[in-house]
């Protein structure tokens, strides 16, 4: 069952309850046929939701939702990342860019928590 909220340029698809994702963890959602890795990162008591492709380009396996999330210090301050469970390549959660190879980037999806649910935005 998928519910769709409408907005001018983005269709929001509900994927699960916020409580379905433990703080710091990820789940994989099937959204419009694509495997989307959805993460809930809790930092200083606030929740942030990120969504990137589930496919790890370094190993060609669909595993990123099972990676460990964390933070790293970039020039512009603290940013969030996820490390692939297979060979530990890390990606910036906001931009999808590989921290090992800036030319490589995962697809990123709009994501938010609203009304206790987690929503993924698709461009329409």
């Amino acid at each position: 069952m998928t519910l769709t909220l409408s907005s001018p340029s983005t269709a929001w698809v509900r994927v699960c309850k916020l409580d379905d994702i433990l703080p710091g963890a990820g789940v994989c959602a099937l959204v419009d046929g694509a495997q989307v890795a959805v993460f809930r990162v809790t930092y200083r008591g606030a929740d942030r939701i990120f969504a990137v492709g589930n496919h790890d380009p370094y190993t060609s396996a669909n595993v990123l939702s099972r990676g460990l999330t964390g933070s790293y210090t970039a020039v512009d301050g603290l940013r969030f990342k996820v490390a692939s469970p297979l060979l530990k390549h890390a990606f910036d959660l906001e931009t999808g860019v590989s921290l090992d190879d800036p030319a490589l980037r995962l697809p990123v999806y709009a994501a938010r928590a609203k009304g206790g649910d987690v929503w993924i935005g698709l461009a329409v």
């Binding site: 998928t2 994927v15 699960c16 379905d20 994702i21 433990l22 703080p23 710091g24 963890a25 789940v27 994989c28 959602a29 099937l30 959204v31 495997q35 959805v38 990162v41 809790t42 930092y43 492709g53 496919h55 380009p57 370094y58 190993t59 060609s60 396996a61 669909n62 595993v63 099972r66 990676g67 460990l68 999330t69 964390g70 933070s71 790293y72 210090t73 603290l78 969030f80 990342k81 490390a83 469970p85 297979l86 060979l87 530990k88 390549h89 890390a90 999808g96 921290l99 090992d100 190879d101 800036p102 030319a103 490589l104 980037r105 995962l106 697809p107």
Partner: protein, 864 residues
């Protein structure tokens, strides 16, 4: 010194027109902007492709998912640099009027720069223009190939004509598109321009091993075509043929010199626009750079020489326009040494690789087990390296290339330079100022001074030295050099867990134990920063588990666990899992074996006897894990912790019970120990062995703790290791009774758990323990620290609170949702593919080309 202005420059700013927007053109534009003030000349770039310069070297990654952005230049970026762009093909030059014709537009120039690159040569075969025939040079070519491949049925075949560098690259790309791929080469071997016959043979075996068909010594005579004009195959001069649904020609490149030729500039007999050392053509107002240029009788098909020309041309041109002082920059040829990764196979060739120097000698090593081949070409006296070839393993490329360039006389027998080092042996001494990055020509001195200047990671080294920004093949070396250099500077010998915790694991263990912290949030709040990472989260989780023996998948602990602990199974390369029930001491009943077999059959799992005397069931879907364990637990099995940093197995021999030499019951002791220490979370995995006599069939001395029976009792050994750095365990105590050895082991293990570093096996821990074995004896036998009672109590707590993790997982019904593939669907990962091998499943081989260009982190994953 300013040179007099050689050109009658128009009253307005001088106008530079660059024909072609390829890699070298782009580098040239950058160089112009870097070497002179943008306000003093106008630059226009003419691009025939529908886009501006992109990274052609990584063209094949256009088929990767996600598709990387290869653009080097964008119209917006050029606008910012004040560079005008005209899209279209330049068709003629009027050298007298100094104009260039591009379609209907006529551009005036003061200086013209030709950077037109090459075109792929297509042999004049009948049928070569049939539908389904392609070349491999531009992004548009690749898009056309993709579209054609997608329209073909899944079993379709793609054939590449040409087994050189680019042909193999193209073959990898066809593989990525899912085509059954073949390579056809006219010469008797692959890569005839770079490799000798042996090297070609090693490469061939590697490539055939990837499922790519290789046909050498085949002269293509005709492209076969059906009634609709579509390619159906290739016919060869020897009368044979090969069916094909798609053909890519990669039979060499030719310089694009047609503009130069038609305007009367001198060109080489076999093509190429003649240039001098300043990159000037036969017309002083026209320059040429890159693959279209012919310098000293040579055309270069690699990007690095083109980049050197771009730099020289920019300097010469600014001098000639009177904008810069006289420049000494000259292009004097380039070394053709290359190191490449083709289809995941590393190939390096340097110097006089083919042994053309008179009197040259060779030493070579052809390893048909690893399929590697190394050859050194030596001077007549055998003292100098002139060149060489490396196939399959190019780890020493940089050092060897350096030896050949510097001509340093050898101080070691030459064969030692190509034989893989024995484990533990010292590495070949790096030559001073060794070449690290051949793409960008960066040497170790430059890297070291960048480190001295503050660079602390590979990313910043890339930024300030340029090393590693080309093919990426040198990144592991760069990483290694950085580590060595930091160590030399006395830095980073820091044992901090990671950027989030300024403590070693041992310090953190002490803090958590003393303060009594129970959860990650408390630990982070009190001792850490940020939100943690993949290093500190599992480390803290492990400490909490060692101390409290809580179920590791409680909601507050689950998100900290490394993936294996997170799903209580070992992740495999395709994202599925392996399941290993505990089989203490390797002893199992027929019923047990049958039950395991039935589970494997029911869930379609691959079975293998492991090196740890138990049975691994591989290929389990995450969703099936709970059901698999329901069946295994019903048959009396429990988790084997193959996934945890905890006790793995206690290996045993049959011992006195059966063996004619046995003097003690090794099997029973092994089972007792395995049941005692199962589930103990530790800094790294723990392995043990128990042998019934000195013949040592259980290999106890290669284990973290091992026991060998004697007539007088048990000898206890500690700190052994197989694995990466094998080490024999050391004798801790002799002639022990079972109870005495258990007391010692309880203390030994708990002391290790408390004081070792993250991912430090007992062998390295013991090596680094100040005072060594004597100190260890003092602590756990004479209680010099007064902590034995505490260690004993800690082990009692562990044993008393042990529960089977899988039983706990199954009773935690809410937690089971985590094992679903998708949170919002019952579907499974449909990208997982299996093939049949010897009657069981195995993961479908990944097209190695899928991973082309991606360099795994050094030692990544080695921590499992």
């Amino acid at each position: 010194m300013f040179q007099p202005n050689r050109f009658a420059v128009s009253p307005v700013l001088p106008q530079v027109v660059v024909v072609g927007s390829g890699m070298v053109s782009h580098r040239f534009v950058e160089q112009l902007r870097a070497q002179a003030d943008a306000a003093c000349l106008r630059v226009t770039v003419v691009s025939e492709e529908s886009r501006l310069a992109y990274d052609r070297v990584h063209l094949s990654s256009h088929f990767d998912q996600p598709r990387p952005d290869l653009a080097l230049a964008t119209p917006a970026g050029y606008a910012e640099l004040g560079v005008d762009v005209v899209f279209g093909r330049a068709t003629s030059i009027n050298r007298t009027a100094r104009t260039l014709q591009v379609g209907d537009t006529e551009l005036s120039y003061d200086v013209l720069v030709l950077a037109t690159g090459s075109f792929p040569f297509v042999p004049p075969l009948p049928g070569k223009d049939a539908a389904g025939c392609f070349v491999y040079r531009t992004l548009d070519d690749l898009d056309a190939i993709r579209a054609a491949a997608e329209a073909l049925p899944t079993s379709a075949t793609g054939v590449v004509v040409g087994g050189g560098l680019l042909g193999l690259e193209a073959a990898g790309a066809l593989g990525k598109l899912g085509l059954k791929t073949h390579v056809v080469e006219f010469a008797p071997q692959l890569m005839p321009a770079q490799l000798d016959a042996e090297g070609g043979g090693a490469l061939r075996r590697k490539i055939e091993g990837m499922g790519i068909g290789v046909h050498t010594g085949k002269a293509t005579s005709e492209v076969q075509v059906d009634g609709a004009g579509r390619v159906t195959g290739l016919a060869f001069a020897d009368g044979s043929s090969l069916p094909a649904d798609l053909v890519v020609f990669s039979a060499g490149i030719r310089p694009r010199d047609e503009l130069a030729r038609s305007s009367g500039l001198s060109v080489g007999e076999r093509g190429g626009i003649a240039i001098d050392d300043r990159c000037v053509t036969s017309d002083p107002a026209v320059y040429a750079v890159g693959e279209c240029a012919l310098h000293d009788g040579r055309v270069y098909g690699l990007v690095a020489p083109g980049y050197s020309m771009a730099k020289v041309a920019a300097a010469s041109l600014l001098t000639d326009l009177g904008l810069n002082p006289a420049s000494e920059a000259r292009f004097t040829g380039a070394d053709l040494s290359t190191k490449l990764k083709l289809l995941g196979v590393e190939v390096g060739s340097f110097g006089d690789a083919r042994g053309a120097t008179p009197g040259a000698r060779t030493v070579s090593l052809s390893d048909n087990v690893r399929n590697t081949y190394s050859k050194l070409v030596l001077s007549e006296d055998g003292l100098r390296v002139l060149g060489g070839l490396l196939v399959g393993d190019t780890a020493r490329y940089g050092d060897l290339l350096d030896l050949s360039l510097s001509g340093t006389p050898l101080t070691v027998p030459p064969e030692t330079l190509i034989v893989p080092p024995l484990p533990g042996a010292t590495e070949m001494p790096a030559t001073a100022n060794a070449l690290i990055c051949s793409c960008e020509n960066v040497r170790s001195e430059a890297v070291c001074s960048a480190v001295a200047g503050g660079a602390r990671d590979v990313a910043s080294l890339k930024k300030c030295t340029g090393a590693g920004t080309g093919c990426g093949g040198c990144v592991p070396q760069l990483h290694g050099l950085l580590q060595t250099e930091l160590r030399r500077l006395g830095e980073t010998v820091s044992n901090h867990l990671c950027e989030h915790y300024p403590h070693s694991r041992q310090e953190l263990f002490g803090l958590i134990r003393v303060k009594g912290w129970q959860s990650w949030d408390e630990v982070l709040e009190a001792h850490g920063s940020g939100s943690g990472c993949e290093v500190c989260k599992p480390a803290v989780a492990s400490i909490l588990a060692s101390l409290h023996n809580d179920y590791v998948l409680k909601p507050q602990h689950a998100p900290l666990q490394d993936t294996n602990d997170a799903f209580l199974a070992n992740i495999q390369k395709n994202g599925t899992y392996s399941v290993m029930p505990r089989i203490p001491g390797g002893e199992v009943t027929p019923e047990g074996l049958i039950a395991i077999g039935e589970v494997a059959r029911k869930f379609g799992l691959y079975c293998k006897i492991t090196g740890g005397q138990r049975i691994d069931l591989l290929g389990a879907q995450r969703d099936d894990l709970p059901a698999i364990w329901t069946d295994l637990i019903a048959a009396g099995f429990e988790s084997g912790h193959a996934y945890g940093k905890s006790l793995r197995t206690v290996k045993s021999c049959v011992g006195q019970t059966w063996c004619r030499y046995g003097v003690q019951d090794s099997t029973s002791l092994a089972i007792r120990l395995e049941l005692r220490y199962r589930g103990l979370r530790s800094p790294h995995k723990l392995k043990s062995g128990v042998s019934g006599c000195t013949r040592e069939c259980a290999e106890a001395r290669s284990k973290d703790f091992g026991l060998i029976a004697t007539e007088k009792g048990w000898n206890l050994y500690v700190g052994g290791n197989g694995g990466v750095t094998p080490k024999h365990a050391l004798l801790l105590a002799e002639g022990l009774s079972e109870d005495a050895l258990i007391t010692l082991l309880d203390r030994f293990l708990m002391f290790y758990v408390r004081t070792a570093d993250r991912l430090q096996r007992t062998s390295t821990w013991l090596e680094n323990l100040e005072g060594g074995l004597e100190y260890l004896r003092a602590v756990i036998m004479d209680d010099t620290l007064g902590i034995c009672a505490d260690l004993d109590a800690a082990m009692q707590h562990h044993i008393g609170t042990y529960e089977d993790e899988w039983a706990a997982a199954l009773s935690d019904t809410a937690g089971l949702a985590r094992f679903r593939t998708f949170i919002n669907s019952d579907a499974r990962d449909n990208a997982i593919e299996w093939v049949d091998e010897r009657g069981q499943i195995r993961p479908a081989p990944l097209q190695p080309a899928l991973l082309h260009g991606l360099v795994p982190l050094p030692m990544a994953g080695g921590d499992d």
